[in-house]
């Protein structure tokens, strides 16, 4: 490969890295927007610390677990060392053709922390900060890279006779986060006041502009998430991925709009926002294998699914303030399945590989996250107490308000 092509490929991968980085801001905004202002500092704090912890723990161990090297091909687990160590020729086209060793690491590191960020929204407004941070550290440091290794690190899902296919991580990233979100929600129970005397009481998020900003930043980042997963700047493939990703996101919006209008006769912005994300998660597993009509259908169905799932989870009294389970778990599964149904790879054998992958990843993610949460619950506890929850985590955990001027408008004006 020419030095030029290597440089271009690497440039694109670095830009994709930056775009995936922005998704953390997207998650922070979305989750803050869809929860109450008394818990906003807490959400922002978690979403500021998680990427930091994620990058560091991924540098220390995660990257080595996820890409342990060729000697672990077909395995369930492997470890290639500790910390980062530039291999010989790690900065040349020999390393991979698409990127340097450093780019490889940093692109993957930005992905890693998203798994924990997905959980953050679902368990918001009631989980103890310290408990959540401990969970995230373990989950991002070990569980996520183990699953990632199964496919992307050359593990057993990659070496199935018909290889499990998950282009950019509908399962490997989104479902892994989604299962943990489900485990957390089950073990935590609903927020006080969400289900009263058998009835659902909506708890509206405090800022629709923040939520919208979050979703658009996530879509923005998704060009890097999916586009970067091509692992090179190949013009045809990356641009196709851009098209399928955009069409699926757009179709998700329309699907959720139509479905929620049909069911509730309302134009619910939060559903449209979730619909966009649903479409994006849905296309993620097969973004490079789909035609435009496939992408349209996958997105449309994802948009419908997410609305139905939000309503269903509320029926089941599973309280997920931001719809993380519906978006990332349900549509992550849908997207993974869709690879066997639509596009170039569609076939029964592919579908069964997809089912195997979904099953194995689901079992491992759910059991491991449930166990970690469970042990935390039995030891240091998982949930803040009632008084703290009522008053808001911002005061209880941080001793500060997100909008002090507004909470205390008078005080501010008077004193100063």
């Amino acid at each position: 490969m020419s030095q030029e092509l290597f440089t271009i490929n690497n440039l694109w991968m670095m830009i994709a890295t930056i775009l995936v980085f922005v998704m953390h801001l997207g998650f922070a905004s979305l989750e803050a927007g869809l929860t109450r202002s008394k818990n906003t500092v807490n959400i922002l704090f978690k979403n500021s610390i998680i990427p930091a912890m994620g990058i560091l723990s991924y540098a220390f161990i995660g990257f080595n677990i996820m890409y342990p090297g060729e000697s672990f091909t077909g395995h369930f687990f492997g470890i290639g060392g500790l910390g980062l160590d530039l291999p010989k020729a790690g900065n040349t086209a020999e390393y991979s053709g698409g990127y340097t060793y450093w780019t490889d690491f940093i692109f993957q590191a930005m992905f890693a922390a998203t798994a924990a960020t997905i959980v953050s929204g679902a368990v918001a407004e009631r989980i103890k900060l310290s408990s959540f941070l401990i969970f995230s550290m373990i989950y991002v440091g070990f569980c996520y890279p183990i699953v990632g290794m199964w496919k992307w690190g050359g593990g057993f899902l990659d070496t199935l006779s018909t290889s499990f296919y998950d282009f950019a991580g509908s399962s490997i990233v989104h479902s892994v986060g989604g299962w943990a979100a489900l485990a957390g929600v089950i073990l935590l129970g609903p927020r006080i006041g969400k289900y009263v005397k058998g009835k659902v009481k909506p708890i509206p998020g405090h800022s629709m502009p923040l939520a919208t900003l979050g979703v658009f930043l996530l879509w923005f980042g998704w060009f890097g998430f999916n586009g970067g997963s091509v692992l090179s700047a190949d013009p045809g493939t990356v641009s196709l991925v851009f098209v399928t990703t955009s069409i699926a996101g757009a179709a998700g919006a329309i699907g959720a709009f139509a479905c929620s209008y049909a069911l509730f006769k309302t134009n619910d912005l939060t559903m449209v926002l979730n619909g966009i994300l649903a479409g994006l998660v849905g296309i993620t597993a097969g973004a490079d294998q789909m035609g435009t009509v496939d992408a349209l259908l996958i997105g449309l169905i994802a948009g419908i699914l997410v609305v139905l799932s939000v309503v269903l989870l509320d029926r089941l009294k599973l309280d997920d303030p931001v719809g993380a389970i519906s978006v990332h778990l349900i549509c992550g599964i849908w997207g993974t399945l869709a690879v066997g149904i639509f596009g170039n790879l569609a076939s029964w054998t592919q579908l069964s590989s997809q089912l195997i992958g979904i099953g194995v990843i689901g079992a491992f993610s759910f059991i491991s996250s449930f166990s970690i949460f469970f042990i935390i619950k039995k030891t240091i506890g998982l949930r803040v107490d009632t008084k703290e929850e009522t008053e808001g985590l911002d005061m209880a955990e941080h001793g500060m308000h997100a909008y002090p001027d507004i909470k205390a408008a008078h005080d501010q004006l008077a004193t100063l």
């Binding site: 659902v200 009481k201 909506p202 509730f264 619910d268 939000v310 309503v311 509320d314 719809g323």
Partner: protein, 112 residues
Amino acid sequence: MKKIEAIIRTSKFEEVKEALSQMRIRFLSYSEVKGIGLEKAQGQVYRGTAYDADYIQRTKIEIIVAEEQVESTMDCIMKAAYTGEIGDGKVFVIPIENLHRIRNKAEGAAAL
């Protein structure tokens, strides 16, 4: 002196203010209160669940007036705040025992 308090529709406040100033009442204080009464708040839907806020945003007006203006002020408010539909609100009178203007220590009716 009396204090007249009125709890009215927020959307009628501007008209009331205008009407009062027409009758040369140019002093008043007002604030936001939440009201519970016969009128029901509009339904809202959030993520598939319908609900109502169980209160309605209202404006509370407080005016201190001399004895002889009580009647006319109340009438004025009642006219301007009227729509005839449920939720128009209430006006009532509270006795005031003493009043001072801070700026010049004027007392009683002189302070109005």
